[in-house]
């Protein structure tokens, strides 16, 4: 499959951008609830709620200035990494 072997890392122009994807607050998160329940059983009774989402670390080659790259990642997040019907995302970095 394409992209499994990263190209040589000697080029220093690779930035790491983080995309956080969380379920929208109104969407039921059974995983988070199960984890909160497990916290309580483990004695972490001060835990009120847990929500579980995804974190993507995207290594991306810089095509030009910082601006376009961030926009590209936002496009990528909106199109592929998150499903806007149930999820929302935030972008950090580089």
């Amino acid at each position: 499959m394409a992209g499994q072997v990263p190209p040589s890392r000697t080029l220093r122009d690779v930035a790491k951008i983080v995309v956080d994807v969380m379920l929208k607050p109104e969407i039921h998160d059974p995983q988070g609830e199960a984890i909160a329940g497990a916290c309580h059983r483990l004695g972490f009774t001060e835990v009120v709620a847990v929500r579980q989402g995804k974190r993507f670390e995207v290594e991306i080659g810089e095509p030009g200035e910082a601006g376009p790259m961030t926009i590209r990642v936002a496009e990528l997040a909106a199109e592929l990494l998150a499903n806007p019907i149930i999820e929302e995302f935030a972008i950090h970095g580089p």
């Binding site: 379920l23 109104e26 969407i27 039921h28 059974p30 995983q31 199960a34 592929l80 990494l81 499903n83 019907i85 149930i86």
Partner: protein
């Protein structure tokens, strides 16, 4: 005297990398009297089929989100406009997930409330027999099919759920309560035009009492063969 060979309907079955129940869907189409036509994810070609099934499985490993990567396959570039133009499409399980990701159906499939994959025979009630895929069922008919999924809970915002209800677009509900946390016990829905249907449990695994819980699923595949349905 000229003998007239009845034309059998051609039903395309898409194989994505990681599709699993494609052979089962083909078998069901053939059992119902149709002609299954394999469609390859990498070809921008629907091969002149009269209807399409997106089968169950783990397309692209279901990595990222179920159906999220398959949605961008070349064959989908043909399928999406064809579906919007009225081609009957049935997405089963992973196929349902792909249809939601491709926005051919509203809402999304989310993790089962029990957090586990669930393989169980379930009874579903056909709520809408006006789609091409369900016209053979009586309204309210209850059939037993196989549920086998980990991300099978249908979710949508309140407005969408209300719209599905008022427009009669819920195709099937779990008859004994949702086994996975699906909103409104929804097992399957149709798009606004009625030609695109998504179903979480597997009717193709209920076509033969030898290998499944009876024959209750067969009419999904025979309904589409009636001329009215494919018209």
């Amino acid at each position: 005297m000229l003998s007239r060979t009845p034309l059998t309907l051609k039903v395309g079955i898409v194989t994505f990398p990681g599709s699993l129940d494609d052979a089962d869907a083909s078998r069901a189409v053939a059992r119902a009297g149709g002609t299954p036509i394999p469609l390859w994810h990498g070809d921008r070609d629907l091969r002149g089929v009269d209807a399409v099934i997106l089968p169950g499985g783990f397309s692209y490993g279901d990595y990222l989100r179920c159906g999220a990567i398959a949605r961008f396959a070349p064959v989908m570039a043909e399928l999406i406009p064809a579906a919007n133009a009225g081609l009957p499409v049935l997405g089963i399980c992973n196929g349902f997930q792909v249809l939601c990701e491709a926005h051919l159906l509203p809402g999304a499939l989310t993790r089962n409330t029990g957090l586990h994959f669930v393989n169980r025979d379930v009874r579903i009630r056909i709520e809408n027999n006006r789609t091409g895929w369900t016209s053979g069922y009586a309204p309210g008919e209850v059939i037993t099919v196989v549920l086998k999924s980990g991300v099978g809970a249908y979710a949508a915002d309140q407005q969408t759920l209300a719209d599905l209800d008022t427009s009669g677009l819920v195709v099937a509900r779990y008859a004994d309560g949702s086994p996975n946390g699906s909103a409104g016990d929804i097992a399957g829905i149709a798009g606004a035009a009625g030609n695109v249907v998504g179903l979480m449990p597997h009717p193709e695994h209920a076509i033969d009492p030898l290998t499944g819980p009876g024959t209750g699923g067969l009419k999904f595949f025979s309904s589409i063969l009636t001329p009215a349905a494919a018209a």
